[in-house]
């Protein structure tokens, strides 16, 4: 029977002493066996004081992104975006006076390990990854470690809808896949009219992202029209040849071709398509990620009815002429990096901005530097601006902002691809309400 005079804590300490005796009699013995952490530490309690102090030291932040190989087409844009946001924040006095120091690392296939290493290094916040599979692997680890991560992309639709609907510390800045695939379907109907779309085809990369995009486009276009799928090509990532798919499309002559190919796959599909007159055999090509290769296209690749989206941003879409941080962005990015900023630039820019504005808000509310949990709480339903407009980090931890879709054309003035005749889709038009899965929502139209 327990002695009523001994508190539960004291009981615990007595038990612990007994166990120490069992394992060797002293803490040293336990330490030598490498078990110190197992027996806990009474001094583990949080040491953060509530005295209102803001730490003097810089904020150590980590970004993982693709810096090499084919995915670097997207990853370097995210890196430039994150660096630009950090540069601007630091130039304006930092977050509550604290400068941000950003370490950047190649994400490769080790997204989980990179996050763990960042945490071991004592990072206060981490950003990235680009990869959706890597992001999926990270989410439960992020909740275990309790260090906020704002993913730049990793936009697989099911992640926060089905797999991890109750995450605490894991967020994603960029609009998720359903928004761009549905934008493409709605845009096709806007351009051609529902009655004029009888057939459609898909050419999508042969992995989870490509499969998801096609599934959502298929569901969307079949709800909006009576169209029938006539071809579905699934080239491998980094495929050396797209001619089979071009030939099949030429043979089927679908009204709409949907492709979520990106990077070198997008340029190859378009250049081989142009060489084999694919654009003469279809009414419209809609490619939600074609913008990602904006800096790699040649003028000849873009001849014909090719429409591209952007998750939330493409140079001058939305218009950047009313607000100096947006108006100055293109020149700043051109001077610094010599590239056209795309939606993936905004992935990096927005992820940093989401966290920094939330942390700043938390400091103003609390009068002290916030705990991770408090920043996570503030980030939910947090609204903020970037040059891509207004964004909201929803309660489901997904970022929402307007999606854009327009004709992708060559601009001599910019020296690259730009969007014209852009339609803007509000988040509620192209994504389900919180608590509902995308395919269920599309099915309910």
């Amino acid at each position: 029977m327990n002695d009523p005079g001994i508190s539960a804590a004291e009981e615990g300490s007595i038990e612990r002493r007994d166990i120490l005796k069992l394992v060797g009699g002293s803490a040293l013995a336990v330490a030598l066996a490498g078990c110190t952490e197992l027996v806990g530490d009474d001094d583990d309690a949080t040491t953060t004081s509530d005295n209102g102090d803001i730490p003097d030291e810089p904020i150590e932040a980590g970004l993982q992104t693709f810096r090499e190989g084919a995915p670097a087409v997207l990853g370097l844009q995210a890196e430039y975006g994150a660096e630009t946001a950090v540069r601007r924040i630091n130039a304006n006095g930092g977050v509550a006076g604290r400068q941000i120091e950003l370490d950047i690392v190649e994400e490769g296939t080790e997204q989980l390990e990179n996050y763990q290493q960042f945490v071991e290094e004592g990072k206060e916040v981490t950003f990235g990854p680009i990869s959706s599979g890597g992001h999926e692997a990270m989410v439960p680890e992020i909740d275990d470690q309790g260090v906020v991560n704002v993913a730049t992309d990793g936009t697989v639709t099911t992640l926060y809808e089905e797999d991890y609907p109750d995450t605490t510390y894991s967020f994603r800045f960029q609009n998720h896949d359903v928004m761009e695939a549905l934008s493409a379907a709605i845009e096709a109907v806007e351009i051609l009219g529902a009655d004029n779309i009888e057939t459609y085809a898909g050419v999508n990369p042969n992995y989870a992202f490509g499969e998801d995009e096609m599934a959502i486009f298929r569901a969307g276009i079949e709800q909006l029209t009576d169209a029938e799928e006539v071809y579905n090509g699934t080239p491998d990532l980094g495929a050396p040849d797209m001619s089979t798919h071009v030939t099949n499309i030429n043979s089927e002559e679908p009204d709409v071709v949907f492709t979520s190919c990106w990077g070198g796959d997008a340029t190859l599909l378009l250049s081989q398509g142009q060489a084999n007159n694919m654009l003469d055999n279809t009414e419209l090509v809609v490619g939600p990620v074609l913008y990602g290769s904006a800096n790699d296209y040649e003028e000849g690749d873009l001849e014909g009815p090719i429409y591209s989206g952007s998750r939330n941003f493409y140079w001058d879409q939305p218009s950047t002429d009313q607000w100096s941080p947006a108006a100055d962005l293109f020149d700043e990015v051109q001077d610094e990096y010599g590239v056209i900023p795309t939606a993936h630039f905004m992935s990096g820019y927005g992820a940093v901005t989401a966290w920094a504005t939330a942390a700043d808000k938390a400091v103003r509310l609390l009068g002290r530097w916030p705990e991770q949990e408090e920043i996570a709480m503030i980030l939910e339903e947090h609204g903020f601006y970037t040059p891509a407009g207004y964004h909201v980090m929803s309660t489901d931890h997904q970022g929402y902002s307007n999606a854009h879709f327009g004709e992708i054309v060559w601009s001599d003035e910019v020296g690259g691809a730009v969007l014209e005749d852009v339609n803007v889709y509000a988040p509620e038009e192209v994504s389900p309400p919180p608590g509902m899965t995308s395919l269920d929502w599309i099915g309910s139209w």
Binding site: G12, E15, R16, I19, A31, L32, A33, G34, C35, T36, E37, L38, V39, G40, D103, V105, E106, G108, T109, E110, L112, E113, Q116, Q117, E120, E121, S132, G133, G134, E136, A137, P140, E141, D144, V156, D163, N206, Y207, A208, E211
Partner: protein, 388 residues
């Protein structure tokens, strides 16, 4: 003399089991190694070393120990051992995500079963081949498996599968829950440390098993096969069957390591566990640590995982770093980090006794550099001007 102590060559040897006799120095080294393994959590918390990376290194090293069984004794080079590591990892992931198995013990048994079946099938198909054909066949099977998993919805494509059932970690024989309930240990710490100590126990058991295998008649037969297949056949060794058995055993090591890796990472994706480059890394680990040694592959595993996982945080051209290390091993430590240690130690001893040898070393190094430079210049001359 007790049954654990024997006299041999005028020295007392410790004999923990039949056939295994260790000198006093070897006993000390073995004990130090075991203590170091068990103290890793505290060593890493007191230093800048990474606990998680060392744990991962040990797991890949365990797969390399298995590969080394084949490499060292049958002298067959497998370029496809990630197949078994990945099979073990996916065995765990499939059982937990599709069948909601939450017992770590059952998950590990599943990993072993899947890897064993796969190794039996692949081993049967490759056992009769030699040299480059054997290597390429193993590579091909690895690649087929990788492509199959990558393109299959059942394995969730490249997004992979979670090892958590309902968001919870698997149970590790109830030990982790006991630690939480009894000692008040943080659940994540309890899980990670329990898994680590289970890994250490499994590693030690597997090392003893390996030692027993290589010192058994079966191990000697494998040596004979490695030295000359035809002669081994002539003396009555059923070569293909023995290679098949060795290949299967070797795959089981990979399966156990992969299963534990899945339990550690709690999410399995194709690239980190099944891609053919991972096979190359496992092979490199065995060479790096020393294929002539029992525990060399473990050291190689830890070192290479450190290089692969952490070099990117410090060096921009981190891919080159692994290449440079490989070059150094080939040129300077041809028997691997652990395998070359006795030679280095004997050389140092000789130089302590006779310092004039150092002068010879300088002369030898100078001559070697001159010779290599001459060869390089000759090669460049031939490339530019042709042979005259």
């Amino acid at each position: 003399m007790s049954r654990f102590l024997v006299e041999r060559d005028g020295k007392t040897h410790f004999r923990p089991m039949k056939g295994l006799e260790l000198t006093a120095g070897q006993v000390v080294l073995t004990l130090l190694g075991i203590v170091a393994l068990f103290a890793v959590p505290d060593i890493t918390s007191a230093t800048a070393l990474s606990f998680s990376i060392i744990h991962q290194g040990i797991l890949f090293g365990l797969a390399a120990v298995g590969l080394n069984l084949l490499l060292r004794h049958t002298e067959l080079v497998s370029f496809g051992h990630a197949a078994f590591f990945g099979a073990g990892a996916y065995g765990v992931a499939v059982l937990s995500s599709h069948y909601e198995v939450s017992s770590g013990f059952l998950l590990l048994l599943g990993a072993i079963a899947v890897a064993t079946v796969l190794a039996l099938v692949i081993g049967y198909l490759v056992a009769g081949y030699l040299d480059i054909y054997f290597a390429l066949l193993t590579l091909a099977f690895n690649q087929v498996l990788f492509a199959f998993v990558l393109q299959s919805g059942y394995f969730n494509y490249n997004d992979g599968l979670s090892v958590r059932v309902g968001g919870d970690r698997p149970s590790l024989l109830g030990i982790d829950q006991w630690l939480v309930a009894t000692l008040g240990t943080d659940p994540i710490t309890a899980y990670n440390y329990t898994l680590y100590y289970l890994t250490v126990v499994i590693l030690l058991v597997m090392l003893v098993v390996t030692w027993k295998i290589v010192n058994s008649p079966f191990g000697r037969a494998l040596d004979a096969i490695g030295q000359d297949r035809t002669r081994a056949q002539f003396i009555g060794i059923p070569v293909d069957r023995y290679v098949w058995i060795a290949f299967t055993l070797s795959g089981i090591y990979g399966g156990i390591a992969g299963g534990l890796f899945a339990l550690l990472q709690l999410h399995v994706r194709p690239e980190p566990v099944l891609f053919v480059f991972v096979s190359g890394e496992i092979l490199f680990m065995a060479i790096l640590g020393g294929i002539g040694t029992l525990v060399g592959p473990i050291i190689g595993g830890i070192v290479l995982i450190y290089l692969l996982r952490l070099a990117r945080f410090y060096v921009e051209y981190y891919h080159a770093l692994t290449g440079i290390v490989l070059l150094l091993v080939v040129f300077v430590l041809p028997k691997g980090m652990l395998g070359t240690l006795p030679e280095i130690s004997a050389g140092l001893d000789r130089r302590r006794q006779d310092p004039t040898l150092l002068r010879d070393d300088v002369t030898t190094i100078g001559a070697s550099i001159r010779e290599r430079l001459y060869r390089a210049v000759s090669t460049v001359r031939i490339i530019i001007f042709g042979v005259k």
